[in-house]
């Protein structure tokens, strides 16, 4: 009996984190909602985070190419609206009227003056005019910068040198430790990137309290549609996806079922080198995710975490690992800093180009 009691005591000491990322889906729900006296704002689906809101001024950080805002003023006012990480050439639409951005220093900074009428919800759309034109376009994919933040400008310049790329999808691990100075440096380096970057978090961002990412960049998991192609960027920062995020992913998969749908997350559900296990903390959960993506007819899966390049299939879906943002690389395979340039249209996937940053 004594040994069984001792066993029970030992067993009780074995308690750990079954849902280490459970705060983050709840924080996602708060993104894009703010109000002050006489003014309230809602960014639909949390597609942008509100960095500042004053009686006559608002600053947003966009996490999607297309933003829809519902603005409710208490009195007639003119709102000076700045959108950071904005699509180049984006315009503001109220009703059927399009207004171009005011002159700014950088193509990913858009500035608008919006007239708001009293006691009326003004619906605002901010997007490039071709946002819903069904045609082919290209976007870039990168991840895993970490300790190479001070040289990531070279990667950004390579991306910017390809004028047909519309935006960058990032699979996370932009920073090494989630320190504020790292995020400041990251934003400084973005001066070299002429298109917006939409990112989820990796295991390095979650080393510090999630409120940091939440305040600066908004959602950990995001879904958007651009030119009739769906994109889902999902938070797997703890080598797992929280059940609440799975619920949201199910909605996104259902919405995008009949469209081309591109899925990105930091951890591959399955490492292509299985024994290395640089993947989800539970292989069964990884299989569950792949089953859901297959059932949701996802067309492409994009991963990071492994600082190299792999092209393979999972559950019959093309998969790419691209962790070439500059972090300590997988050596002796001849793969260095790189990004992917992917062509896509509502009809399907096009070419996936591997772009070597250091060997032009």
């Amino acid at each position: 009996m004594r040994s069984i009691v001792a066993f029970a005591l030992l067993a009780l000491t074995l308690c750990g984190c079954l849902r280490p990322g459970e705060e983050r889906p709840d924080l996602d729900l708060d993104v894009g909602v703010a109000s002050i006296e006489g003014l309230s704002v809602q960014v639909v689906d949390g597609q942008a985070t509100i960095r500042e809101l004053g009686p006559n001024e608002m600053i947003l950080w966009a996490q999607a190419p297309v933003l829809e805002l519902h603005i409710s003023p208490g009195a007639p006012t003119k709102l000076h609206l700045t959108v950071l990480n904005c699509m180049p050439g984006a315009e503001l639409r109220v009703g059927q009227d399009w207004t171009p951005s005011l002159q700014t220093d950088h193509p990913t900074q858009c500035v608008f003056d919006v007239r708001l009428e009293e006691a009326k919800v003004t619906e605002v759309l901010i997007a490039p005019r071709d946002y819903d034109t069904a045609e082919s376009y290209r976007f870039a994919v990168m991840g895993d910068v970490q300790t190479a933040l001070n040289t990531v400008d070279e990667v950004f310049q390579s991306i910017s040198a390809m004028p047909d790329l519309r935006f960058v999808l990032c699979t996370g691990d932009i920073v090494q430790d989630g320190e504020y100075w790292e995020y400041e440096l990251y934003e400084e380096q973005l001066a070299y990137l002429r298109i917006p970057i939409f990112s989820t978090v990796g295991n390095h961002e979650v080393r510090k309290p999630p409120q940091r990412w939440h305040q600066l960049f908004g959602r950990f998991s995001a879904h958007f549609r651009f030119k009739d192609v769906d994109f889902s960027l999902v938070d797997s920062g703890n080598a797992s996806i929280d059940p609440k995020t799975y619920n949201r992913l199910k909605e996104w998969l259902d919405e995008g079922r009949d469209r081309v749908h591109i899925f990105g997350t930091h951890f591959p559900p399955r490492d292509p080198i299985g024994g290395r296990n640089a993947s989800f903390r539970s292989r069964n959960e990884g299989a569950k995710l792949l089953a859901r993506l297959a059932e949701g007819r996802v067309d492409l899966t994009l991963y990071g975490h492994i600082h190299s390049y792999y092209s393979y299939e999972n559950a019959g879906i093309p998969a790419y690992v691209s962790g070439g943002g500059g972090a300590l690389p997988e050596r002796y395979e001849g793969i260095g800093r790189h990004f992917l340039a992917i062509s896509v249209s509502p009809a399907g996937l096009g070419e996936v180009e591997f772009v070597d940053v250091d060997s032009p």
Binding site: L10, G16, N238, P272, G275, S282, A287, K288, A294, G316
Partner: protein, 378 residues
């Protein structure tokens, strides 16, 4: 804090095992300090007084040795045995920990310098895991030997046939199965053993069938043994639209630590390494099977407990089981580690025994089973 509490309870558990043993005093390695102390002064005291004082001194000595095993023993393995005057065992534990650290550093360095290269990592990780396991086991052995002084308890001879029925509770935020009925059995014939098992969820459409076959390569009278083992597992996740199938082969070893020194009698260390291949079969039409290799590695430390019982604590690097892989904290460490486990088997007298186990990874698994045994028993 959790780790500290674990080892405090482990030390208490070890002491509890020692208190229950039979013939404690005679099983110990000679304690030179106590021997010198008692040889001079016993003439002036009565026998009961001497016995009482000896017992008190031994207890105090053991507490000092255990504290030394905890610190600086956590860094210098064998410290507890040095404090107890058992230099020979202390040296062996220190050497073993150095070997473990060497393996771990070699494995870790190969991963670091190659950036976990695809051709290196499947060799580097076994070195890292087994090295850390040997390093950890040498510390646990130091704590055990310092706290108990060794026991005369020996491992029970496995029965020819055993069968068990039980229940398992699985707390996994990713799956809703929760309750499992379990049935396991074992058949032994000479060096060969066969272990089929079935776990079936009671409220979900999920079941796992596994069969292990092993061949014993070496068995010593003290309980050290080495076997090769192969296994096939089919796990149906019908509610989630997939099934997994794993084929694996491994070498499984158990070292009776009594060979290291008398203070470690009754303890053992487990180490197994192997490879497997896992295939996921999806129910969605058009979703092709997905396969991947699997690295198997388990390290453990355990002890015999009174009345033929046995307890062990282990780390298992695999992440394809119900327990999955551990997240040590919300901030760091997710995605590399396997799971931790604790097992206890306690004969109830006659032909029955109870088996308890708990594992912690991405899920928490707790199971209990009643085992019936036939054939040769001890």
């Amino acid at each position: 804090m959790r780790t500290l509490s674990f080892f405090l309870v482990l030390a208490a558990f070890s002491a509890s095992a020692a208190a229950n043993k039979t013939g404690t005093a005679t099983s110990l390695g000679a304690d030179p300090v106590l021997c010198a102390d008692t040889s001079l002064r016993t003439q002036a005291r009565t026998a009961p007084q001497v016995a009482l004082r000896d017992q008190h001194n031994k207890r105090a000595h053991r507490v000092r040795a255990t504290l030394a095993a905890l610190f600086p023993g956590v860094l210098i393995h064998g410290s507890g045995h040095y404090a107890a005057g058992d230099t020979k065992t202390g040296n062996r534990l220190l050497l073993t920990s150095a070997v473990g650290a060497g393996l771990a550093i070699t494995g870790g360095a190969s991963l670091f310098w190659t950036g976990a290269n695809r051709r290196v990592s499947e060799m580097g990780i076994p070195l890292l895991v087994s090295g850390l396991g040997i390093f950890g086991a040498s510390w646990l052995a130091d704590v055990y030997g310092s706290a108990t002084g060794g026991t005369k308890l020996s491992s029970a001879v496995p029965p020819n046939i055993s069968a068990s029925l039980g229940y398992a509770h699985v707390d996994d935020p990713q799956f809703s199965y929760e309750h499992f009925a379990t049935a396991e059995s074992e058949f032994r014939w000479a060096q060969v053993a066969l272990r089929p098992s079935l776990w079936s969820a009671t409220v979900a459409n999920n079941w796992r069938a596994r069969i292990e076959a092993s061949y014993s390569l070496y068995t010593s009278p003290k309980g050290t043994r080495v076997r090769i083992q192969s296994a096939a597992t089919h796990h149906a996740f019908s509610d989630d639209g997939f099934a997994t199938r794993v084929y694996e082969a491994s070498v499984v070893g158990r070292w009776s630590l009594g060979d290291f020194g008398p203070r470690l009698a009754g303890a053992f260390a487990d180490l197994s390494v192997g490879f497997g291949h896992e295939t996921i079969q999806f129910e969605t039409p058009g979703a092709s099977n997905t396969g991947a290799t699997l690295l198997l590695g388990r390290v453990g430390f355990g002890m015999q407990t009174p009345r033929g019982g046995e307890s062990s604590f282990y780390y298992d690097h695999r992440r394809d089981t119900l327990a999955g892989g551990l997240s040590p904290s919300k901030r760091r460490g997710s995605g590399f580690a396997g799971h931790l486990g604790l097992r206890h088997r306690q004969p109830l007298g006659g032909r029955f025994a109870i088996r308890l186990a708990t594992e912690l990874g991405s899920a928490w698994v707790a199971s209990g089973a009643l085992e019936a045994r036939w054939g040769k028993l001890r």
